[in-house]
Structures are given as structure tokens and as C-alpha cells.
Symmetry: C2
Subunit: 262 residues, 2 copies
């Protein structure tokens, strides 16, 4: 088997938490540390990462000794600065890779704001942003988390996940009502996701933020799993729905291009 391919192997012994190798555990623990700001209790990290407490402790000791994690003195844990250096490099490299492609999209889509986000656990995280050429700008920032059930990128991702995983995500992350238009019922969400799959793009019409309308398309990795998505956004009073939908073909073409660059 070649590296980077699926490798659905692993997880044989798994009693309650089917996490495979120790490297995988470590990465999941780092992701668990990065979901929200404050220092985290060992127990929460362990649970979120799906590993037993003592394992989380051992891995955190290793990561801490290397500067990738940090024991905040009291028993709490946070991310370490060495991970910051790595993260800054990674974001910069990926951004420079996709930057030109997304700028083309921005220009071709009326100069409106373009976002690339990738899935991290039960959220998506902005990885790159191309600001619009308008006098105002969106308040989004690289590194911001966004919900999956109420955003165009999020719904595009969910639409390409197996239904069981969608279920798991809404169970743990909930379906917070962000605006009156937010989908807050699991049934309605599944119906919407079927629509998204059929149309090949997702529409967020003030579901996540009042006065903001977005179209989003999924970005798949080479094994067909959804890694993230891209979107074009505008404020509702500047761009009507029809005009925004006119950019869908370009959005989809760009999403396919981005998939090759991730």
C-alpha cells in the first residue's frame, strides 16, 4: 500500500475508542487542544481525542517535552509555541499554493469575498481569504471556526460525508440557531444535504449571518473524501441571489482546481 492512500486498516484491538497508531493519537490530541482557546483539562482532551486518560497523559508528556504542547502548571494543557511555528509555515505554504487560483475566482465572481476552509473535527476552519474589492469587508479571519450546518462551505462538506458521520457531528456540535433561516432540524438538514449533492453546490442565504449570502462547493481529496470547501460571499443588499448563483460554474471549476493543490 502506498502512503497517502486510504488505509482504512488500523483499529483492531479497539475496545471503546477505535484510534489506531500513536502518531494518529498525537495528532488528534493536538487537534483537541486547538478547538478552543483556553487551557484544557486532561480529561476533556482525552475524551475529545477518543483516547484513554493515561494515554493522553503520556502523549501530552511527549509533546510537551518537545514544545508542541504545554502543561500550564496546574493540570491543564495548551498548545506549545513550537506548534505555532510549524502552523505558521504550513498556512503560509498552503496559502501561497492556492492564492492565485482563489484570486482568479474572486475576480471572476464580481470581486466578492472568497474563502477556503478545511474541516477540523466538527467545524470548518478558514485557511485562506481573498478580500473583496468593495468599500467594506467581511469580518472573517484565517483561523476562525465556522459551523458546518449553517454555512455554505459547511453544508458542502456535510453533503459529501457518510450520513452516520453527519449524525455524529450534529450530535456533538449541535445545530445552533444563528438566524431565523438556520436549519435546526436533523431531518431538514438531511433533505438540504441531498439537495446540495444533487445541485453540486451549497447555498447559505442568511442562514449563518443576517445580510450575508454565500455559495459554497466542496473540495475533495484524491480519495474522494471531503477535506474542505470554497465559497463566494456577499452582503444581500449588494448582490441578489440570481447574480450570485451565476458564479456557481466558476466556483465549481475552481473547487476542482483547488482539490489538486489542497
Amino acid at each position: 500500500m502506498t502512503p497517502g492512500s486510504d488505509g482504512a486498516a488500523a483499529s483492531r484491538r479497539g475496545r471503546s475508542s477505535p484510534v489506531g497508531t500513536s502518531v494518529e493519537k498525537a495528532m488528534r490530541i493536538l487537534e483537541a487542544l486547538a478547538v478552543e482557546d483556553g487551557p484544557h483539562r486532561l480529561m476533556d482532551v482525552a475524551e475529545r481525542a477518543g483516547v484513554p486518560r493515561s494515554t493522553a497523559y503520556r502523549v501530552l508528556a511527549t509533546l510537551g517535552a518537545q514544545g508542541f504542547a504545554q502543561n500550564c502548571g496546574d493540570g491543564r494543557y495548551g498548545i506549545g509555541s513550537r506548534l505555532g511555528g510549524l502552523g505558521a509555515r504550513v498556512v503560509r505554504m498552503l496559502s501561497t499554493g492556492v492564492g492565485p487560483t482563489l484570486q482568479e475566482l474572486q475576480r471572476g465572481a464580481g470581486g466578492n469575498t472568497v474563502h477556503l476552509a478545511v474541516r477540523v473535527g466538527d467545524h470548518a476552519v478558514y485557511l485562506h481569504k481573498v478580500d473583496n474589492d468593495k468599500p467594506y469587508e467581511m469580518r472573517s479571519r484565517v483561523g476562525n471556526q465556522l459551523p458546518l450546518h449553517s454555512t455554505a462551505i459547511g453544508k458542502a462538506i456535510l453533503a459529501h460525508l457518510p450520513p452516520g458521520e453527519v449524525e455524529a457531528i450534529v450530535t456533538t456540535a449541535g445545530m445552533a440557531s444563528r438566524t431565523p433561516a438556520t436549519i435546526t432540524e436533523v431531518g431538514a438538514l438531511h433533505a438540504e444535504l441531498a439537495d446540495v449533492r444533487e445541485r453540486g453546490f451549497a447555498l447559505d442565504d442568511e442562514e449563518n449571518e443576517l445580510t450575508v449570502r454565500c455559495i459554497g462547493a466542496v473540495v475533495l481529496d484524491r480519495s474522494g473524501r471531503p477535506r474542505g470547501g470554497i465559497s463566494v460571499s456577499s452582503v444581500t443588499f449588494m448582490l441578489d441571489r440570481e447574480e450570485l448563483l451565476g458564479y456557481v460554474p466558476l466556483l465549481q471549476a475552481t473547487a476542482r482546481k483547488v482539490a489538486g493543490l489542497i
Copy 2:
């Protein structure tokens, strides 16, 4: 032993490459993938990470299956998008943590540009930047790499590393001559680093970039090792050396504060 403490243990079996646990190997491999842009050959990654080829292969297979690394089809490897999501979160979290403190420094230091960088291998990487309030700005960007021997932050870091490690760094990274003032002799560097230690800060007077002058102070982790540094920068024709040096006490105080936030 408590996690996050030194833990100089590890590396007993070590034949040629004294790298300990598999988690540590994985993190070093990720760092090796992030040093420069293009896809990397397996061999280069293995060498840079200090692990045998077959080990690098196996770890990359694991990381690739999880989306943290990527096999670019031909035998080359790059970073995966899942690492990008993690990295974006991490940078954002660390930035929001230190942002206010560094903004205070910027205001207290005449509104000049402030940087926070952390060490990654034999370079430093910008993790946060507070732009100046002048009509022009520095071209630096978060995620940029900077050499250690020719920058204020870099010299502040080197000054707090054991001499052997300094030797190793200049051996592998070299001492490129960036301007006529760049220190390019190992002996001169060691002398300069002794100065830096004694004064408690580093000065880069057009050593890395013509017309740019910086003061830098080291940021130590809780076990006393240098994790990175902060700096105040200005163009030479706007700020003479004396005035810049006047900001040293505030710089040092801020560095100590940042050490607690990393």
C-alpha cells in the same frame, strides 16, 4: 516527571540518529515537510528529520492516511490540508493570546513594527506581527522564515543556545551574507552572541536588510530554553540607533511577559 517539563530522557538505543518516540519522529517529519515549499523527496525528509528512510516512509504513510501529509503521486511528499486547518487554528489562538501585549509594545516603542518569531529548526518563523503606524510598512508576513545569524530575533535565540547547537545550526544553514554588515564568520558570531547575552538584547543594524534596524529579545520557555524572540524594527532614516535602544527596557519586559503566554 510532569508533562511539559524537560524530559531529556529518550534516545538510548540511538545508533546514528538519536530521535526518541514515534510521536517525536512524526513531528520532526512534519517540520521537515514545512521548511520549504515544493514537494520533498522522501530521502531529504528523512535526512532532515534525522530518521532512517524506512521509518520516514512508514510515518508518512500514517500521516498521509490521516490527511496531515500528502503523497504527491510521484514519490514526493508535501503537507496535507488537515495540517493546514490545525495550523490556522494554532496561529490564531497564539496570536490572540499575545496580540494585546505586543500591541502595547508597539505603542510604547514609538509605533514601530513589532514581531514575534519562534524557532523552527535552523530558522525562525514569524508567528505574529503588529504593523507600525507609519505610512509605509515592512514586507514581512506571518509564516516567513528568517535566518538566525543575521537578525535581531535570531541572534537573541542563538545567544541562549548551547554553543554546540549554534555550531550545528551554522553548519547546516550557513551564514549567508545578506548585507555588507552581516556577520559571516563563526568566531565573530560567537563574540557577538556573548555580547548579546551580556547586554540582554540583540541589535541588528542593517545586518539582514539594508535600511532596516531592529532590537530583539529572547523568549524563553519555562525550562529556560529559547523558544523564540520579539523585536522592534524601523527603517534607519526614520529612527536613529539611540532612540531605538531607548526602547530596550520595554522590549525586555515584554519578552518576559510573552514567555508566560507563549
